[in-house]
């Protein structure tokens, strides 16, 4: 082995010199930091820090006319730092922690105290956790007065939601304590255990905008649990940023009116403004008072609503999927015309109830053209139109023809979600050709799937999708994806998807033909909704009477008005209401009048609809 290189041994001196020099520099620095400089000592002297989260005011929600729908109310959360409590219980014998008094003050028993304490300890031993949330104003004043006797506890102000009108519960949604699953998904790390988060409705879809940004206040606290002022002159504090206000497209009066009309019926009303896609009314029935899901009783009320056999928590406007029945003839007719399979002048023979393979429910007789067929809701006409589309030789086959038809329905917003700002939407169903391949082992044709032509069979739509069809016809061929928001309070832009016009590619000429047909549903001598015609407000509409597995027919209706310049388009579905003309059509007509005129001129009809009850035996 080599033992040379010892000539370099003097080099150890430079290395040792560097080590020693750095050591001296550090020791001098430590001496100045620890002994000379008293500044840090003062900062730390006998002070504990309390990190108080400053919750921003959650954004308020208004309707399209500026009527307040949701605002905030102050509540107080009692927070605990477990370590400080345990220290007080163990050590501070002069000022013992009086658990019994504390429990009396909070109106809880000893077991509950221990349970809450353990939960907080599990969360964090050193950081504050909520001990009791949403203490009322009265109790707060009472407790805060003597809280200094209980080290480790302090109040944190927070706001809860309040709903002055008690309408549109599903649309507005609710907020609640963040769940472990939601905490896990929070990649930003914004939320802490005990924070509130939007659970449904716009509270969920606009959570980020509504919530604002939490602030932080670092307070010095002395041994007597008294706040001694801001730490480092507030250098570490962060002001909370208030949430944005939101204006909805909703018309609060129309919404309230719709909810009144729907009392005693199960179903939904969806109304949109065709020129923007903003939802004017979003009624689902039965509904509930949104104020029930606020405050300490939230859990209890939620459970009650959940156990209600009528399932009031479901938003049927987006989660209910229904066979559209004859309202679907609008879709079938438009696609048939656009594909060149029929023209407005095309005539199909109708034998009334004797027609095959689908009978007609009306006795209009003879051979109707398109406008007549719509007015009379002629089943054979639309079955033949559907057949003509699927079998159109230009597609080169049934499967291709069907695919074209399905693609067109998708462009019209059916069979998929709009994905705007409405959580928990459902897609509905337009079957795929592969589904029919499996179902009929490849042996199917336009006759096999004929029910689709009249909106029965596998086809399912949500009231929202149906309403969008009405809006599209009202606009003579295009629509804006239906959405809840009108604008933010600070005028930041709303997401583009909601302001992007969707054009399914149907020639406006055909849509106008359709529109004229829908006008005759009210105005024509045999129109299925002729009883609800108003002289000064020309309405267009289409009835639907849909067979379903739950009993009596669903009563369906789509409509828009005024015919020449539509301000409102809507869909109404009344579960098991019977004929479309019995419930859905008059309710739609009343909604139209209310929105355009502001009041009803048909008091008898209004009274009959509001007081009408449909008996439901089945649980749904």
């Amino acid at each position: 082995m080599r033992t040379s290189n010892n000539s370099l041994s003097s080099r150890k001196l430079l290395i040792m010199g560097i080590f020693i020099a750095v050591g001296i520099v550090y020791i001098v620095k430590l001496f100045s930091l620890q002994v000379v400089d008293k500044h840090y000592k003062q900062l730390a002297d006998n002070n504990a820090l309390r990190f108080v989260t400053q919750y921003p005011a959650r954004g308020k929600v208004f309707d399209r006319n500026g009527q307040l729908l949701v605002f905030n109310e102050a509540v107080y959360d009692l927070m605990v730092v477990p370590r400080q409590v345990i220290q007080a219980v163990r050590k501070d014998t002069l000022n013992p922690f009086d658990t019994a008094t504390f429990c009396r003050l909070l109106e809880i028993d000893k077991a509950s105290f221990v349970e809450r304490m353990n939960k907080a300890k599990k969360e964090s031993y050193l950081k504050p956790s909520p001990f009791m949330t949403q203490v009322s104003k009265e109790n707060y004043a009472h407790i805060a007065e003597v809280l200094y006797r209980f080290p480790g506890f302090y109040f944190q102000t927070r706001t809860v939601r309040h709903y002055p009108n008690a309408i549109a519960a599903h649309t507005l949604g609710d907020i609640g304590e963040i769940s472990p699953a939601e905490l896990e998904k929070d990649e930003e790390g914004y939320y802490r255990q005990g924070d509130y988060i939007g659970k449904s409705g716009i509270e969920k879809s606009y959570e980020k905008e509504l919530r604002g940004v939490k602030g932080l206040k670092v307070m010095m606290v002395d041994v007597h649990n008294r706040e001694m002022g801001s730490f480092m002159d507030g250098e570490l504090d962060k002001e909370p940023v208030a949430g944005k206000d939101i204006y909805l497209g909703l018309d609060a009066d129309l919404q309230a009116y719709g909810e009144q009309l729907m009392v005693g019926k199960i179903g939904s009303i969806v109304a949109v403004e065709p020129s923007t896609g903003q939802i004017l009314a979003f009624v689902t029935s039965p509904t509930y008072d949104p104020n029930l899901l606020v405050g300490r009783e939230r859990g209890k009320h939620y459970k009650e609503l959940q156990e209600d056999p009528m399932k009031p928590l479901i938003n049927r406007a987006i989660s209910g999927t229904y066979p559209p029945g004859s309202t679907f003839k609008t879709v079938v007719g438009l696609i048939a015309m656009q594909s060149g399979s029929i023209t407005p002048q095309t005539v199909f023979h109708c034998n009334g109830p004797g027609s095959l393979p689908i009978k007609c429910t009306h006795h209009h007789g003879g051979a109707p053209d398109f406008a007549n067929a719509i007015m009379n809701s002629c089943n054979p006409y639309f079955y033949e139109s559907f057949k003509a589309t699927i079998n159109n030789p230009k597609f080169g086959g049934i499967r291709e023809g069907y695919q074209y038809w399905k693609d067109m329905t998708a462009k019209m917003g059916l069979g998929h979600k709009f994905n705007t700002d409405i959580p928990y939407e459902r897609s509905g169903n337009i079957p795929t050709k592969e589904y029919y391949d499996r179902m009929y082992k490849g042996q199917w044709n336009s006759v096999t799937i004929r029910s689709l032509g009249i909106g029965q069979g596998e086809v399912l739509v949500t009231p929202l999708q149906l309403c969008n069809i009405a809006a599209m016809i009202a606009n003579e061929g295009y629509y804006y994806p239906p959405h809840l928001i009108k604008c933010f309070g600070d005028t930041t832009a709303i997401p583009e998807v909601m302001t992007t016009r969707v054009d399914p590619g149907i020639d406006p000429r055909y849509v106008r033909t359709m529109k004229n047909g829908l006008r005759t549903v009210f105005s024509g001598p045999a129109g299925t909704a002729r009883r609800y015609e108003m002289k000064d407000i020309p309405q267009c509409g289409k009835t639907g009477t849909a067979q379903n597995p739950h009993g009596n027919y669903h009563s369906n209706f789509i409509a828009f008005a005024p015919a020449d310049n539509p301000k409102i388009a809507l869909a109404v579905i009344i579960e098991n209401g019977g004929y479309g003309a019995t419930w859905a059509a008059p309710i739609a007509s009343l909604m139209i009048e209310k929105y355009i005129r502001g009041y009803s001129t048909r008091e008898d009809l209004e009274k009959r609809m509001m007081e009408g009850r449909i008996s439901y035996k089945n649980e749904r």
């Binding site: 082995m1 080599r2 033992t3 290189n5 370099l8 041994s9 080099r11 150890k12 430079l14 290395i15 040792m16 560097i18 080590f19 020693i20 750095v22 050591g23 520099v25 550090y26 020791i27 620095k29 430590l30 001496f31 930091l33 620890q34 002994v35 400089d37 500044h39 840090y40 000592k41 900062l43 730390a44 002297d45 006998n46 002070n47 504990a48 820090l49 370590r83 345990i86 220290q87 163990r90 300890k121 031993y125 050193l126 950081k127 932080l216 480092m232 250098e235 570490l236 962060k238």
Partner: protein, 423 residues
Amino acid sequence: MNERNSIIGRIDWVTVLIYFALVIIGWFSIFSAKYDELHPSIFDMSQVYGKQLIWIGASLLVGFIILLIDAKFFNAFSLWIYIFFLVSLLAVLVYGKATKGATSWIDLGGGIKFQPSEFAKMATALALAGYLDRLDVDLQKRKDQIIAATIVLVPMALVLAQNDTGSAIVFVSFIFVLYREGFPGAGWLMVAGVVAILLFVFTLVWSQKVMYIILGVLLVLTLTFYIVTKKKGIVRMLAVFAIAFTFVFSVDYAFNKVLQEHQRNRILVLLGQLDDPKGVGYNVHQSKIAIGSGGFAGKGFLQGTQTKYDFVPEQHTDFIFCTVGEEGGFLGTATVMLLYLGLLLRIIILAERQRSTFSRVYGYAIAGILFVHIAINIGMTIGLLPVIGIPLPFLSYGGSSMLAFTIMLAIFVKQDAYRLNVL
């Protein structure tokens, strides 16, 4: 059997006692930093202080085994140990990609994580020592210089690729041993490194313009000095200044383009250029409050308030020195500093008395590694250096680092104990 018994008499007890003192101070500091009234026993295995005891026990066991292994083993197998850890580093890179995000850990299952970068430093020291020990190796030859440099730079690059800047910086410490062994230019590099750090810091603090002015004034003064005294080497001096100007010019670019944002922020905060009390500055600020509040004699064991409220993140790992400072005061920090200094100087003295190149090189290498760890870690807690996440040897919580530093030191103690056996 005779040899085993005599190991007690042969090992350098000064080194071993300093080691024990540091490990015990570390363990009690971790206990104090993470003290939890619900688990008041330092032996509570559910807490980090209990776990640290397990790691200390494991480290002592492994250290003892190393003392029993034949001293020649480490020289003979130095290359294989080195290759093994290079492969481990590669494995971490592959594994790290698979699990998203940079990670320097390999999960061995059962909650045990293994951090090869901690061991790679020791393996590199062994490999370099083994290489320089070969009779045919001469650091004056270009080929041998390249190989020696490669031995250090390859693991450094792999660690850097893991995004573990702190551990990569530690490899710079090999400059000390290369200087000692006569690697040409290593001394200059050492000095230039210090100057470069100063220029870098001052450029960011005072901006380029001011630096140009200062350098310009210095240049004029130097030129005047050379012209007046008619000394030789004026060209070389001009070259030095040219390099300095280029460096200052490129610092701005390097700072904004090469460094990642969190690294930039740490440096800016340290230099007082960025006001970010909730971010990095907050840690340093809290760390300084904790240490500063310790005063001369400290608040006493378990009496610290600042290190117990999660104020200082990583307070039981990278910021363990805060607890020493708060509870032990200046007496505590000075004691730890002197223990470290004593250990470093002792290793250098022992290294110099080795007969074999292997042992000497290895000794210098680990002295350098320990020095960089200590200087960076303590420097950051007292606000002298940016926040770079590397552990404080023997004090910080963590199995890999405790085990790696113990093995590192034990190998040297073993080499030293059998230095006379080398012919």
